[in-house]
């Protein structure tokens, strides 16, 4: 199995005592599989994604990437996994404003030490960014910025891509186009994809769908 989460629980402190955001969630993702995580606001979708990315640690349960358990790993080791094996796509794009589009696309691949200039150029071409490589993120539209974020993730050839509402800031047509490109590229690279989305329509484009309600899988 590519990615496994077993009996995950996560609580946060609240005004009236701890608030349980996730409670006993288990899921698995196979190589090349695309999984949609749906649910209402506050159902724990994004929290689960940050746990799967190793950005946060569960209060209970275990997450494994190809058999490697996250629990015993220290911060630098988790960082190394994120750098080399996981790709993240955020709703807010999170591009580095002071780097050009080309530099942003190459960033994670360079951090992971496997920058492939031709692959980056090919990704830019596929995502319609070739004319914007020298520009800075602030001069691009939202759709273009999200394409840069997708290209940045794919440029590092991650084993798993975790996307948090990657089209949430885009209009429907642009969102559909970005998602179509992303799914095509994921299929080509053989990576697994977990995508958080509100939209049942978008979720239907992925191979499997899990629904979260009040911190549990429905």
């Amino acid at each position: 199995m590519l990615l496994e989460a077993t009996d995950i629980a996560r609580r946060f402190p609240g005004e009236a005592g701890p608030v349980t955001v996730l409670d006993g969630v288990s899921l698995s993702l196979a190589q090349g599989e695309t999984l949609a995580l749906t649910g209402e606001s506050g159902s724990g979708k994004s929290t689960l994604l940050t746990l799967l990315a190793g950005l946060d640690r569960p209060d209970r349960g275990e997450i494994r990437l190809k058999g490697t358990a996250f629990g015993p790993l220290k911060e630098p080791e988790l960082a190394a996994i994120r750098r080399g094996r996981i790709g993240l796509v955020f709703q807010q794009f999170n591009l580095v404003p002071s780097l050009s589009v080309a530099q942003n696309i190459a960033l994670q691949a360079r951090l992971a030490g496997r920058h492939d200039r031709d692959w980056c150029a090919a990704l830019a071409e596929r995502l319609g960014l070739s004319a914007h490589l020298a520009k800075y993120p602030e001069t691009l539209s939202g759709g273009q910025q999200q394409r840069v974020a997708v290209a940045r993730t794919l440029a590092a050839r991650p084993e798993v891509i975790l996307a948090d509402e990657p089209t949430g800031n885009l209009d429907e047509a642009t969102g559909d186009a970005v998602l179509a490109e992303m799914l095509a590229l994921v299929a080509e690279t053989g990576a697994g994809l977990v995508m958080v989305t509100h939209s049942g329509r978008l979720a239907g484009k992925l191979s499997r769908r899990l629904h979260l309600a009040r911190g549990r899988l429905a």
Binding site: D56, I81, L95
Partner: protein
């Protein structure tokens, strides 16, 4: 990984070169002002060391003539023949192209040391070169450069001598000074053995004198250097405010990048190491620039400081700065310390930064204000500490601690005070726009607080120091008028010359000005003789006096003491003091702003009775005619040299010039500190400008033109500067009081009445206003020209 992460972090500076320039400039300016002051201090200290070591005679007791300024060579010969181990010295002033230098003639065979010797080579050959005609004249290169071509002698430049001092063989010096066959003094190299004939037998016209207190210079000037150091520290603090603001904003603007880097797998430790390396590199670059600027600053200021030290303390300091490893290292060290202080808060935040935290530049600006109340509490504590320090502390250290408490306390209270004032104005506003302007100004206070605090410090320092200097100037002028009441001052070579010339002068009073070194209550000082004359009775600047002070002084019943001694020893009229071991009653205390040492005045007759050996060679003359004509007559008819005759106007002009130069360096530092504060405002406004668009865009959408918004921004800057200046006024006056009543008394031993000069405040307030408006001009211009598309994007981003 490191390379990519470094490139991502450093790319911020490429996109924000202005911010980088601000950071480097802030650190460089802070370092420059600090280093400049340190360079001046280091130069002066090195000079004192040279002066102390150069003639290695200052700790030897002397034999000097009982009368006049010179002794016959025969006395020296008689003493040597009788077995006394003495070395001859000739000393006098040698005219230079501009001014004069002290020429010391030494006998290289008996003198303890000859400066400039012993640097290698054949000592025999060096001795021969020193004495063989026309003889060597050794001196600092600056001094030798001023030696007229007509002066015969081989010039030998040496750094071993302070500027203003020349050394030659005794024969050469005697020739140059026109003192052939005469000596100025003899150094007693060894205590005379018991079986040697006593001095009174061998040379009855000589008397033993204590060592010359040349090495007092370091102690006397210590307080002056402490003052400079305090100014350097203040400037450093102002510069740090700039650096701190730039580092904080840069960190906040890069928070998103840092979060992304961490999300993409860069460990926190790697990010922290990269940011630390960046801070180190910036500190070294800015530090090197700052040290270079400091050198330039020191080179510009040193001539005035050197003049001050010469004028005030007689301390010889060259007018040029040498590059010294000590202050280079100190400057770079301060730059590193500054970078560390400026970055500390950002590193603290980085440690606690969640990977999931959002980028909040605006929140950063507001967070600066969240600590306002805490800062205000710290400020109140600082202010409360001032009276406590004054009550229980002592000396100069307590004075400076009180200054620090006052300045930091006031600076910390500023943001809350300004906010409170602006809130009150907002409540009183009638129109919607007026309300917005006041509210908007209040909203800007947190982001600008560091720059405004820097401005407050600079303005308060300006008001404080200029009030002190102006008070000093006013008091000094009055003191000078009273102290230099006589029209003409004469200095004769011997009592015999005086006796020959004086009867021919048509003067209403001839007042001897005689003095001698004495032990004043255990410390070295001077005792003067004062004739009983209406000139003194009317004019002498007494601060405190007992009954019938002049009659009792004339009758030899007591002494007048100067303020320095009175304050140091806690003396007032009626007390008893010890002068050369004899008890004398204090009749009065007089102001004396010429030097920091103790002085006493005896009635002329009492002085003569005590020191019959001292011949009277200096006189003050009261004339009814034209002093200039009388001076010319004395030179033309009586054969006096021009330097023996000084009229009051020239003496006063010289004293005033010394005074003005004394404070020239202080004035320059004042201006520089204000300029740095203006720069701080400019950079703060510039860096905050990108955060400003979301605040003004809605107003623009509601129908205010960009031009009007820009003008309102200018008005806001002026408003904040005016508010800061208003608050700086009481702080500055308190600072002036501390300087006059505490620091000056501890440093120089005199207390000055504080005088206020409202016109100066107005001028300074206008300068602050102009500085703030200039600082706000570029950001306002940019706002006036911002494209509508950029303003519209604010609304697009808001969606």
């Amino acid at each position: 990984m490191i390379g990519a992460a470094a490139a991502a972090l450093l790319s911020h500076w490429r996109r924000h070169p202005g911010q980088l320039a601000t950071l480097v400039a802030g650190l460089a300016l802070a370092t420059a002002l600090w280093t400049g002051v340190q360079a001046i201090n280091a130069e002066a200290r090195a000079s004192y060391d040279r002066a102390a070591s150069a003639l290695e005679q200052s700790d030897l007791p002397l034999l000097v003539p009982r009368e006049g300024d010179s002794l016959p060579l025969s006395d020296y010969v008689a003493l040597r023949r009788a077995g006394w181990k003495v070395a001859p010295v000739i000393e006098g002033r040698l005219r230079l192209k501009d001014g004069s230098a002290r020429l010391v003639g030494l006998d290289p065979l008996t003198a303890p040391a000859v400066p400039g010797s012993g640097t290698g080579g054949d000592p025999g050959r060096a001795l021969l070169d020193f004495i063989s005609p026309p003889g060597e004249i050794r001196g600092h290169p600056d001094t030798l450069a001023g030696l007229p071509a007509a002066v015969e002698g081989r010039r030998v430049a040496t750094e071993a001598l302070s500027p203003g001092t020349l050394v030659a063989d005794i024969g050469t010096a005697a020739r140059l000074l026109g003192l052939e066959g005469r000596l100025t003094r003899l150094l007693i190299l060894e205590d005379p053995a018991q079986d040697l004939p006593p001095l009174g037998e061998v040379a009855p016209d000589l008397r033993e004198a204590p060592p010359q207190p040349e090495n007092d210079i370091r102690g006397l000037t210590g307080s002056f250097h402490l003052n400079l150091t305090a100014f350097g520290m203040l400037s450093f603090a102002v510069g740090l405010f700039i650096a701190h603001g730039a580092v904080g904003l840069a960190f906040e603007q890069r928070r998103g990048t840092i979060r992304t880097l961490r999300a993409l797998g860069t460990p926190l430790s790697a990010v922290a190491a990269l940011l630390a390396a960046e801070a180190l590199a910036l500190a070294l670059a800015a530090g090197a620039l700052g040290v270079g600027l400091g050198y330039v600053l020191a080179s510009l200021l040193l001539p005035d400081v050197a003049a001050t030290l010469r004028g005030l303390y007689g301390a010889p300091v060259p007018g040029s700065v040498a590059v010294r490893a000590a202050w280079w290292a100190a400057g770079l060290g301060m730059a590193l310390l500054g970078a560390a202080l400026a970055s500390a808060q950002s590193f603290w935040q980085l440690r606690r930064l969640s990977v999931l935290a959002a980028m909040q530049p605006r929140a950063w600006a507001m967070a600066q204000g969240r600590g306002q109340r805490l800062m205000a509490l710290a400020g109140l504590a600082g202010l409360a500490a001032v009276p406590a320090i004054l009550l229980w502390g002592q000396g100069l250290a307590a004075g400076f601690a009180a200054l620090a408490g006052l300045l930091l306390g006031a600076a910390f209270l500023l943001p809350l005070s300004l906010s409170a004032g602006l809130r009150a104005a907002e409540r009183a506003a009638r129109s919607a726009l007026g309300e917005w302007v006041w509210a908007d100004a209040r909203q800007q206070v947190p982001g600008l607080s560091l720059a405004l605090m820097a401005l407050l410090l600079a303005l308060a320092a300006n008001i404080g120091v200029s009030t002190m200097v102006a008070s000093f100037r006013a008091t000094f002028e009055g003191w000078l008028d009273r102290r230099l009441a006589a029209e003409l001052y004469l200095s004769f070579d011997s009592p015999a010359q005086a006796a020959a010339v004086l009867p021919g002068i048509d003067a209403s009073a001839v007042l001897p000005v005689t003095r001698t070194e004495a032990d004043l209550g255990g410390a070295p000082g001077l005792v003067y003789a004062m004739a009983d004359d209406p000139t003194y009775r009317r004019n002498w600047p007494l601060i405190e006096a007992g009954p019938q002070v002049w009659d009792r002084l004339a009758a030899g019943g007591g002494v007048l003491v100067n303020e320095q001694w009175a304050i140091r020893a806690g003396l007032s009229p009626g007390d008893t003091v010890q002068i050369d071991g004899a008890a004398r009653e204090v009749l009065g205390v007089y102001a004396d702003y010429g030097n920091p040492r103790g002085q006493a005045i005896l009635g002329l007759e009492a002085f003569r009775a005590l020191h019959p050996e001292i011949g009277e060679t200096r006189f003050a003359l009261r004339l009814s005619g034209d002093p200039a004509a009388e001076a010319a007559r004395l030179v033309a008819e009586d054969g006096l040299r021009p330097d023996q005759v000084t009229d009051r106007a020239a003496l006063k002009a010289e004293s005033r010039a010394v005074f003005e130069r004394t404070f020239a360096a202080t004035d320059a530092l004042n201006v520089l500190t204000l300029a740095v504060a203006g720069f701080a405002i400019f950079t703060s406004l510039l860096t905050l400008q990108s955060l400003r668009l979301p605040q003004v865009a809605p107003l623009w959408a509601l129908g205010l033109t960009r031009r009007r918004l820009a003008l309102l921004d200018l008005a806001r800057a002026g408003l904040l500067a005016a508010g800061t200046a208003l608050l700086a006024l009481p702080v500055g006056l308190a600072l002036a009081w501390l300087l006059l009543a505490v620091v000056n008394v501890a440093a120089f031993g005199w207390r000055l009445p504080m005088q206020i000069f409202p016109a100066d405040w107005l001028r300074l307030g206008l300068a602050a206003l102009v500085a703030a408006l200039l600082a706000a001009a570029l950001p306002a211009l940019r706002l006036a020209r911002v494209s509508p598309a950029r303003l519209l994007r604010v609304f697009a981003d808001a969606r």
